[in-house]
Each structure stands twice: as structure tokens, then as C-alpha cells.
């Protein structure tokens, strides 16, 4: 029995290491749970809506939950991201239409220094609110690992559309239509 004990312990330790590796890899990888739920028409609740994030323009903090009752186009972006530069004018144009229907674009910067983000906001004349995800936890809860990514959230706080990548006018039209009819 004693002769077998050592190989058993070594095997168990090896299995633990492999398990740890698998957990680490799956934990780091971006989750696509939201995409699957939206694809199945389940319209999942927007995660971490109560998490407060600092506003880009000042020292205040706010959360997605404070936009409750509004249609929100949640847009993750960074100043260094070229597709974000492409879609910024589209988002700003959509904002003027969304505002009139009690809806808004809500930008969230991710992996970006605030002076660079502020310069970006000035450069593209963005008027919609922008928050800073300083830890990356908020973006991670949306499975965001590449930028830009956008989510349309209805008035009840459910995600109804997701765009992993640069958005187009059709995506924004969907959000505007949702705001108009709800």
C-alpha cells in the first residue's frame, strides 16, 4: 500500500495542476453567455448594472442602473482603437435621435488613460455620457475583450442586441426603433 501511495499523491497533484490550468484558461477567456442568450431570444438582464463607475468628465460616479427606464446603447471604447474612431460620429448622430425618445448612448472606456479618452471626446464632439471602467471588471462581465463592443439595453434593463466589433447604422437603427416604439 505504501509503495502505491506516492504515485497516487503525485497523480492527484498533477490532476490538480491540470484542473487549475483549465480553470485559469476558461476564467480568462471572454464569456459568450450573453450572446447565446440574446441569440435564443431570452434577452438577459444587463450584468453589473448596479456597479458604479467614475464619469470621464468629472469626479462623480454613476452606474448603468441610474439610466433605468431608458433605452441605452452601451458602447465600450478606447481612444487607441481605430474602429472606435470610425463609429464615434455614427454614435454621436444616433445620440441626437435617441435623446428625443428618452434613450441615450452610454460610452464606457476600457484600458485607456483618461487624458487620452478626454481628448477623443473633444475631437469627435461627443455629447453622450462616458464612464471609465478602471478595473476591467465591468467590461469582463459583458464578455468584452476586444473593442469596440456595443449592447442595446431596453427600458427594463434587458440586453436585446449585441455587436462585437464596429457597429453600423443598421445596428443603431434597431436601437432607435426600440426607443421609438417603447
Amino acid at each position: 500500500m505504501r509503495r502505491r501511495l506516492l504515485p497516487i499523491i503525485v497523480s492527484l497533484l498533477g490532476a490538480c495542476l491540470v484542473g487549475l490550468l483549465i480553470y485559469g484558461v476558461s476564467h480568462q477567456a471572454a464569456s459568450r453567455t450573453l450572446d447565446e442568450a440574446v441569440h435564443q431570444g431570452k434577452d438577459p438582464l444587463a450584468p453589473d448594472a448596479g456597479q458604479t463607475l467614475p464619469e470621464l468628465s468629472d469626479a462623480h460616479s454613476t452606474s448603468l442602473a441610474s439610466f433605468d427606464g431608458k433605452v441605452v446603447v452601451l458602447n465600450f471604447w478606447a481612444s487607441w482603437c481605430e474602429p472606435c474612431q470610425e463609429e464615434a460620429p455614427l454614435l454621436e448622430r444616433a445620440q441626437s435621435q435617441l435623446q428625443s425618445h428618452d434613450a441615450t448612448v452610454l460610452g464606457v472606456t476600457y484600458l485607456d488613460a483618461s487624458p487620452d479618452s478626454e481628448r477623443f471626446v473633444r475631437q469627435y464632439h461627443l455629447t453622450y455620457p462616458n464612464l471609465r471602467d478602471t478595473t476591467g471588471d465591468f467590461a469582463h462581465s459583458y464578455g468584452t475583450d476586444q473593442l469596440p463592443e456595443s449592447f442595446v439595453i431596453d427600458r427594463q434593463g434587458h440586453i436585446v442586441a449585441i455587436s462585437r466589433g464596429e457597429i453600423d447604422q443598421a445596428f443603431l437603427n434597431r436601437a432607435i426603433a426600440l426607443a421609438e416604439r417603447s
Partner: protein
């Protein structure tokens, strides 16, 4: 006499303090350098250490760090500022919290497990080697006739 000694001490104190007084906060040498920080942080978009990264974002990070160095911030303060801007993934070494703790604990655990395995196995191997050596010594000796024949054969090959 006491007054003269006092004046001398005061003059010496003034002399020793003068370089520090002459050097304002702005002239003070920086607490750290850009290469020292570059070694410890990542380029957040390229996901490689900043010291080897060549990209517009890497250069922006360098500018940001240089700005903090010029402000007189030390290494710890700069790293805190970087984390506040880019999040904890900007640090090359993960934090010792949560799952990241495994980065430090697993190598230690593997080392201890290897040490324990060797502690158990080495005496066993040595015992086995001793036993094998003993069995060679205990082998039956050649009888004189065989020994003489072996010697003769070996002499023929010389």
C-alpha cells in the same frame, strides 16, 4: 571660547546643508526612471511587456509614465497611477489576490512536492543501490582452477 565653538558648529551645519537647500524640489533627481518602470508594466493593447513594445499605444503609455516621473512620483506611486488609468492588467506581475495568487503559490507547491518526493525516494534508491552492491560482494568466489584459467586467458589477451 564657547561662542566661537558654537559659531564654528553653526557654520559647518550651514555648509553641509547648503547643497540640499540649494536644490529645489524641481531640481531633485527623479525617484525612478522610464526603463525601470517599463520593465514592470505591460503595453495594454499589445499584451507584451512595455520595454519591448513598439506601438502608438506603447508610446502613449511611455509619455504618461514620463509625465509622472517628471512630477517627481516614485515607482509605487507611478504603478498606482497606471493601475488607476489602465486597470490591474497593466502590471507585468499579477497581484497577490484571488486567482492570481496561484501564480506565486503553484511554483512553491510544486517545489515543495518535488522536495518531498525526493526526500522519500532518495533513501529508498540509496538503500536499493547498497543492497545491489552487497549482492555483488556476496557473489560466490571462483574456485582456484577457474581463477587460474581466467588469469591465463587475460594474460593471453595482453
Amino acid at each position: 571660547m564657547r561662542t566661537a565653538a558654537g559659531a564654528l558648529i553653526a557654520a559647518l551645519l550651514c555648509l553641509s546643508a547648503s547643497p540640499a537647500l540649494g536644490m529645489g524640489a524641481a531640481d531633485a533627481p527623479p525617484h525612478t526612471s522610464l526603463p525601470a518602470i517599463e520593465r514592470q508594466v505591460m503595453c495594454v493593447t499589445c499584451k507584451i511587456p512595455l520595454e519591448v513594445a513598439e506601438s502608438p499605444q506603447a508610446n502613449r503609455e511611455r509619455e504618461f509614465i514620463q509625465g509622472l516621473i517628471d512630477e517627481g512620483q516614485d515607482e509605487a506611486q507611478i504603478k498606482r497611477s497606471l493601475v488607476a488609468q489602465y486597470g490591474p492588467t497593466v502590471l507585468a506581475l499579477p497581484s497577490a489576490q484571488g486567482f492570481d495568487l496561484t501564480v506565486y503559490l503553484v511554483p512553491l507547491a510544486v517545489f515543495l512536492a518535488l522536495l518531498a518526493t525526493l526526500t522519500v525516494l532518495l533513501p529508498r534508491w540509496r538503500r536499493r543501490a547498497r543492497e545491489q552492491a552487497g549482492s555483488v560482494l556476496d557473489a560466490p568466489r571462483l574456485d582456484p582452477a577457474d581463477s587460474a584459467r581466467l588469469e591465463a586467458d587475460l594474460a593471453r589477451f595482453d
